[in-house]
């Protein structure tokens, strides 16, 4: 089951980065991407048939590229817009991921994405990471982790 969830998480993540940021992620990370830090993180809390959150962590070096690509600009926007771009990416990944996991009959409510410490999820032992997708882009890395509060997703 975990493999299936992870596969859906990977596909949702790759598609969103390709479709809205015109970035070409690779799932087989090279050494540089593996060694890159992921310093910026946002979380989207959700509630519905199961509750949890989706955390998107990204290398700082990718953030200006992500935002510039989303806006179709040659130059990156200011830092606040770069963070806004990441929040929107997290929102769209989460919004597309949950129905892909459970089907479109289920109703989830998503909270507004918020900036968090990139290590924050590790500080909450009640959050169970059920799946993680790591993708490489240029010289950086993106990690998307799905946490749930209970194990109903594994039924």
């Amino acid at each position: 089951m975990k493999e299936k969830v992870e596969d859906i998480l990977y596909r949702s993540t790759v598609r969103i980065f390709e479709d809205i940021a015109f970035m070409l992620p690779n799932m087989e990370l090279n050494e540089q991407q593996m060694g890159a830090s992921v310093e910026v993180a946002v979380a989207v809390d959700f509630c519905g048939p199961f509750n949890g959150k989706l955390v998107v962590r990204i290398s700082n070096s990718l953030l200006p590229i992500l935002a510039a690509n989303m806006l179709g600009e040659g130059e990156p926007p200011c830092r606040s817009e770069q963070l806004d771009a990441l929040r929107e990416v997290a929102n769209i990944i989460c919004g597309n991921l949950l129905p892909a996991l459970t089907g479109t009959k289920e109703v989830f409510r998503l909270s507004a994405p918020s900036l968090i410490s990139s290590r924050e999820p590790l500080d909450h032992p009640n959050d169970i990471p059920v799946a993680e997708a790591r993708i490489g882009i240029d010289e950086g890395r993106v990690e998307v982790v799905l946490f749930i509060e209970d194990k109903e997703v594994d039924r």
Binding site: I16, E81, E88, T104, F108
Partner: protein, 142 residues
């Protein structure tokens, strides 16, 4: 006549993407107003003549659904064409939203998807000879 459009989304990046897409659509654009939540959106509607609203759902302060419900209860703007642009995928929720609005565009969207939704909603548009559009919409009653 040019279309005055209100874009309501808490993400400034998404608003910029939507506005860029609007410029790519070949629509006769007038003023484009922006709001970061439903409350600001309602204020913009009070202060300006708007022909079409593009509204996100998941927003702080006042979400898009509440905003749409308030619009539908105001006689002077109840018929405003509204397109929801959202990540919402639940069939039940999407159907409920569709009953309240005039079009639904799922995020992520392509410029063509947004253009099609707008064209479907704005019934007074006729394609012109040069690929441009002429628009027949009613202005405000003064």
């Amino acid at each position: 006549m040019a279309l005055n459009i209100l874009v309501v989304d808490d993400s400034s990046v998404m608003r910029s993407i939507i506005i860029k897409t609007l410029h790519l659509c070949g629509l006769p654009l007038g003023e484009i107003y922006q709001a970061v939540n439903g409350l600001e959106g309602l204020q913009a509607l009070e202060e300006n003549w708007i022909d079409l609203a593009l509204v996100d759902i998941n927003m702080p302060v006042m979400d898009g659904e509440e905003m749409i419900e308030k619009i539908r209860r105001k006689p002077d703007i109840a018929d405003l064409p509204i397109i929801v642009i959202s990540t919402e995928s639940s069939r039940k929720r999407v159907e409920a939203l569709r009953r309240k609005c005039d079009g639904f565009v799922h995020k992520p969207f392509t410029p063509e998807e947004l253009r099609k939704a707008i064209m479907k909603v704005i019934g007074g548009l006729n394609e012109g000879e040069g690929g441009g559009y002429t628009l027949q919409v009613n202005g405000p009653d003064f």
